[in-house]
């Protein structure tokens, strides 16, 4: 089950994409309350957003992005049914992708 929720909506000429990704986004600076140890950094480093295979946005993130990150962006030229693909990659090499059609 993908941990990315994507909604892409055509509003006039603009396609508005909103996505919510499940991810701990640990910046490596937080101490575990019980053990007092630093929780190791585990955060999404890059998010690539594509429309019909073309890269519309590339986001580079640090651990300073909130847990379960939200991202919204807009682009022109989209039509209903076009696929919008969101792919993230984190600092531990994990990756996930989700595609949704523009509605």
């Amino acid at each position: 089950m993908s941990d990315i929720k994507v909604r892409a909506k055509l509003e006039g000429t603009e396609t508005v994409v909103k996505c919510l990704i499940s991810h701990p986004m640990e910046n490596g600076l937080r101490k575990d309350a019980k053990t007092g140890e630093l929780v190791p950094a585990h955060f999404i480093e890059e998010v690539v957003c594509k429309w019909k295979g073309e890269v519309v946005l590339t986001a580079s993130w640090s651990g300073g992005i909130s847990k379960n990150p939200y991202l919204s962006f807009k682009f022109l030229g989209g039509a209903a049914g076009d696929p919008v693909e969101i792919t993230w990659k984190d600092n531990l090499g994990q990756s996930q992708s989700e595609t949704a059609p523009i509605s």
Binding site: G28, W51, S60, S62, G64, S66, P69, F73, K74, N91
Partner: protein, 154 residues
């Protein structure tokens, strides 16, 4: 790999003056070449110094940064950056009070509009800075966000 060596105080590398004043950020920000070292860096000046440019960033009200005046929860501060400036190729969000101030950068493809919205962590009351790249020039605008740790307001 995050380099969490010394804590570098974030001062001097970013002089936040009144609106309209030039800000002493390192010029020539080429966000497409941003690498992890930049994000790991605790010194904003070196974090932004991806390539030398010709002009220092200037505050421009065509760059709009929207964030709450008061964030009850510093772990989740919504921020939206958009601009009416044309030909914007990249946007960055900086949380001036964080240990690692450069929080995010976005490289815009040709179809993208200069608009991004996300949620950031803020360590304390500080300025959120939106950086927008147009050609070789950088434009910024600043929104100060008060953060109440513990969420009791005021």
């Amino acid at each position: 790999m995050i380099d969490t060596t010394r804590r570098t105080l974030f001062k001097g590398s970013l002089a936040i003056g009144p609106v309209g004043a030039a800000v002493a950020l390192a010029p020539g920000l080429l966000l497409a070449d941003w690498n992890q070292a930049a994000f790991a860096s605790q010194d904003l000046g070196s974090a932004l110094k991806a390539r030398l440019g010709s002009s220092a960033p200037e505050t421009n009200d065509a760059v709009r940064i929207k964030a709450p005046d008061l964030a009850e929860n510093g772990a989740v501060v919504p921020v939206t950056v958009e601009t009416s400036l044309p030909n914007v190729t990249a946007i960055a969000i900086v949380a001036a009070g964080n240990e690692r101030p450069l929080v995010a950068s976005f490289v815009l493809g040709p179809a993208a509009l200069p608009y991004v919205s996300t949620r950031v962590k803020m360590a304390k009351t500080a300025d959120l800075i939106a950086v927008v790249k147009q050609g070789e020039r950088l434009f910024i605008n600043i929104k100060n966000v008060k953060v109440t740790i513990g969420g009791c307001g005021g």
